[in-house]
């Protein structure tokens, strides 16, 4: 029942190796045993990420392999590793992506090798979302036709930085934590 300390095994060097998929499995298991996780993990992570990306904006949070929420010109926006900007992080970034939808068996053949367990045509489709800047595949959904895309993650950044990390963001404001997706779409029919 004793707590496992992570100061040594969860070094910045090992964290970087883990992010690259190169940390030996035995060390990964040692990291799994750290409980609770070391207090400065997030800051080590952000340091490594900031060194990795080819742009200078301050990273507030990483939300997928390629996408980050960054602070820029008084805004908090989603930015791809390639530099492409998707806009306000409170709007589902998928609205600013390129999308390709697989509906037919022929289209699904390209990614599934055994035909039997395909989703039935008309019951579900596979949606691929690409970055308009670098064409990376950012997300894949299976959903019924007509199903609104999922807005998978809306972080409460101010609560996170103030209450959990103890370092409030300089532009802290109660307005930040809200979903602006539908607002962004108003007027799309005209």
């Amino acid at each position: 029942m004793s707590e496992v300390s992570g100061a040594e095994i969860a070094s910045k060097k090992n964290l970087r190796l883990l992010m690259e998929g190169k940390l030996p499995w035995e060390d990964v298991k040692r990291m799994c045993r750290i409980s609770p996780k070391e207090e400065d993990r997030f800051w080590k992570y952000i340091d490594i990420l900031q060194e990795k990306v080819p742009w200078k904006e301050k990273i507030l949070l990483r939300i997928s392999d390629q996408l980050y929420i960054v602070a820029k010109d008084g805004k908090r926006m989603v930015k791809c590793e390639c530099g492409h900007e998707f806009g306000d992080y409170r709007v589902n970034w998928k609205l600013s992506s390129l999308v390709y939808v697989r509906k037919t068996r022929e289209e699904m053949d390209e990614i599934y090798s055994i035909e039997i367990p395909y989703p039935e045509v008309g019951l579900a489709e596979i949606r691929e979302y690409y970055c308009p800047g670098c064409l990376a595949q950012l997300n894949v959904e299976i959903a019924p036709p007509g199903y609104p895309p999922l807005f998978e993650m809306l972080p409460d950044l101010d609560a996170f930085y103030r209450q959990w990390l103890g370092k409030p963001l300089p532009d802290e404001h109660h307005d930040w934590f809200q979903d602006k997706t539908l607002e962004e779409m108003s007027g799309w029919t005209t």
Binding site: W25, P36, E38, I46, D65, P144, F151, M185
Partner: protein, 732 residues
């Protein structure tokens, strides 16, 4: 005068617990963990004694069972509970089920069991009914109260998943074809099934008469009772050693300590906010439930969208708006015991990494579910035979949501996901000598693949989300209990996973040959995977979703003749197809099933192929490291065609080893990106086209069913209408 401490009744103890938690936020108001603070070593020794009692009970008692499901696969658990029902600690095994047990004690309390039938030393109580805190008929809970000097000081409980529950339509422990509550099989509310530590004779007779496998079920019951009594005896010794005051206080402190650990994990691993996911599956009833149930003779899509709120105070709140209605299928989930089980399956692998699996997490989690939905049904005549599976369907997308949070936080090593699979193969028949038989084979449910992670590929046949001690079982044992089904092979299936920078775990084929089918043989596959509407796990960060379960049945083959001639038999799905192409294997009929298989007659020489698992990928496949592609090709886990088409890898075989041409691969991947650009369209353009379809209401009947429930929910309906901008009066 109640049976608890100071003469409190069970209901009074429950009220005291809830009042103190509400007032203080701490379990039983324990702001200070006095025993832990005063002498941590002694507390550790106490804790280990309790946990050891549960582990020892399980390891001894399971030898009484005749079923490999309990003995080998690990589908049983033994626990120690507070008088008011909270689980303090448990053995290895079916860990998630600890979440349900408190609700059965709560029902006994509120039903006035202290007065009628009475709760006293030596009594045995049993329950498996989801409306009374149970999970589904297969999960049988047996309770023995622990009295010390005439005071109820704890409960001992044994639980296991039995191999047959006596449903009306076919033999099964997981009856996914059950149109009403009255076809579910032997589901019983809490009842006293023994006194003076002896099982009532009528209880054995009920197992014999109400299920198809009475002997196995009687032995499983003896196992549960024996384990609970072993815990009972061990606890009395521990009380003598530590004193009753220490015991009473220590149990509560353990639960509060574990609650704090969970809070600490959430705070160090997650990011507060809102995480949205959904699950879809199909209750495959159409043409399968028979003419007696015309109201149930259709496929029911089951949709569960949710928003997981991770609150700044480290509490989880799950909001389910627009979930599918209750209906005449097996997937209705009545009762908190049933619902909490599915949620425990989510929480335990990701947060409860301690020596004590208990119900502390119940106090960090709230949920709201619309009344009248399949997750909160009001019609007691509806089936709930696999209702826990509906709640369990949430655990995979909940893992996805938490993984996103771990990833954002930099805690990559905790990323873990797998398609929740409770799929069971359920054959039955009559042997040539006239003996009826049946059995539930748990192998596929106990050895899932895992999904790709941000740092490595998923594993194959490796895990079971709800059972940390799972095992796919011994082929020889399954052969013994399912005499006409000879397992020809368990093999990994090439390309059978969601692709990604880190791909999902490789799927598994189970291949059976029918030999000695006797007077009759029928087989059912109770699939609980993606079921007809796509895989449960969405790929993450650009990885593809995995596979749903599937089955191929080859009837009237000449394989027995081939074996007799010494030619042999095919040992993989691909080999079967190749042998058919070469006309070496003759086949009269081939049937394919996506998801579950309804009861299907089999005869000697038939070949039954089950494909299962094969999980989701992580990251864009064209970012996959060439060395990993070479490894997959060398292992036979990937074919060269997939390497090129999906991963953009140009490969060649050199001296029996595969090599990726890195220069050509870079060029191919560049071209793949160009093809993406050519075929994709800006989201807004796609939205305009899709909106036209929404306005024309051109959906299949099953999809309309989903959207009707969304539109009938105030919150979900408003969001749907506003997203598509179709007006406030839009209906389907």
């Amino acid at each position: 005068m109640g049976i608890g401490e100071g003469g409190k009744s069970l209901v009074e103890m429950l009220e005291e617990r809830d009042r103190l938690i509400a007032q203080t936020g701490y379990f039983y108001g324990l702001e200070q963990l006095v025993l832990h603070d005063e002498d941590p070593a002694e507390m550790t020794r106490f804790n280990w004694r309790l946990t050891s009692a549960c582990v020892a009970a399980r390891e001894s008692a399971k030898l009484l069972s005749a079923s490999p499901n309990a003995r080998t696969v690990g589908e049983c658990v033994f626990l120690l509970m507070l008088p008011a029902g909270d689980c303090v600690t448990a053995s290895h095994g079916l860990a998630g089920h600890v979440a349900s047990a408190p609700y059965q004690i709560e029902h006994m309390a509120k039903l006035g069991f202290e007065d009628n039938p009475g709760i006293k030393e030596g009594d045995i109580f049993s329950c498996n009914h989801p409306r009374y805190g149970g999970t589904h008929s297969a999960d049988n809970f047996t309770y023995v109260p622990i009295f010390y000097k005439e005071e109820l000081v704890a409960w001992a409980c044994g639980m296991n998943h039995i191999a047959e529950v006596g449903p009306a339509l076919y033999s099964a422990s997981v009856p996914v074809l059950s149109p009403t509550a009255f076809t579910d099989g032997f589901a019983y509310p809490p009842m006293k099934t023994g006194e003076n530590f002896r099982i009532a004779k009528w209880w054995d007779l009920l197992w014999t008469e109400k299920t198809r496998m009475g002997t196995f079920n009687i032995l499983d019951n003896k196992m549960r009772v024996a384990g609970a009594i072993l815990i009972h005896n061990a606890i009395l010794e521990i009380i003598e050693e530590f004193g009753i005051e220490y015991f009473r206080k220590g149990l509560k402190e353990i639960i509060e300590r574990e609650r704090r650990r969970i809070v600490s994990s959430i705070r160090r691993q997650m990011v507060p906010g809102i995480y949205k996911q959904a699950s879809w599956r199909m209750a495959q009833n159409k043409g399968r439930v028979g003419p007696c149930f015309p109201f149930a003779d259709k496929d029911f899509p089951i949709h569960s969208p949710f928003a997981l709120h991770v609150k700044p105070d480290c509490r989880f709140v799950i909001e389910l708006a627009g979930v599918s209605r209750e209906d005449y299928h097996s997937w209705n989930a009545p009762g908190d015991g049933c619902r909490r089980l599915g949620l425990a399956w989510w929480l335990i692998p990701q947060f409860a990494h301690t020596v004590c699996v208990n119900t502390a997490f119940n106090y960090q989690l709230d949920y709201s579910i619309p009344e009248g939905s399949h997750l909160n049904p009001t019609n007691s005549h509806l089936s709930s035979s696999i209702g826990l599976g509906s709640m369990a369907a949430l655990m995979t997308p909940l893992w996805t949501a938490c993984n996103q949070s771990f990833f954002a936080r930099g805690v990559l090593e905790e990323h873990w996901n797998a398609t929740a699979c409770g799929s069971v193969l359920e054959p039955e028949g009559v042997l040539e000598v006239g003996v009826p038989w049946s059995f539930s084979m748990f192998g596929p449910a106990s050895a899932w693949a895992t999904a790709g992670t941000p740092y490595k590929d998923g594993d194959y046949a490796a895990t079971c989300g709800f059972n940390p001690q799972s095992d796919m079982g011994e082929v020889e044992e399954w052969d013994l209990f399912e005499p006409p089904l000879v397992c020809l092979a368990r093999k990994l299936i090439p390309d059978h996973y969601g692709h990604g920078k880190f791909r999902g775990g490789v799927g598994v084929n189970w291949i059976f040959l029918v030999v000695g089918s006797g007077k009759r043989l029928s087989i059912t596959y109770a699939a609980a995977g993606g079921l007809q509407m796509g895989a449960q796990i969405l790929g993450v960060s650009g990885g593809y979703p995995g596979y749903m379960d599937w089955t191929a049945i080859f009837s009237g083959t000449n394989v027995l003749e081939l074996i007799e001639k010494g030619i042999g038999y095919p040992s993989s799905f691909q080999e079967i197809m190749q042998w058919i192409k070469e006309e070496k294997l003759q086949v009269d009929k081939v049937e394919y099933f996506s998801g579950g298989v309804p009861p299907t007659e089999l005869n000697d020489g038939d070949i039954y192929v089950l494909g299962t698992h094969g999980d989701a990928g992580w990251g864009d496949p064209i970012k996959r490291d060439p060395s990993l592609i070479e490894r997959d090709l060398d292992n036979g886990w990937m074919t060269p065609g997939v390497a090129k088409e999906v991963y953009g890898a140009i490969v060649q075989s050199v001296d029996g080893k595969w090599e990726v041409d890195e220069k050509a691969t870079t060029q191919e991947r560049r071209q793949m990106k160009q093809r993406r650009k050519d075929k994709a369209k800006p989201f807004k353009e796609w939205w305009r086209q899709e909106r036209e379809q929404v306005l024309r209401k051109e959906f299949r009947e099953e999809i309309c069913y989903i959207y009707q429930d969304i539109l009938n929910n105030e919150q979900a309906g408003r969001q749907f209408r506003e997203f598509w901008q179709v007006g406030e009066d839009y209906q389907l």
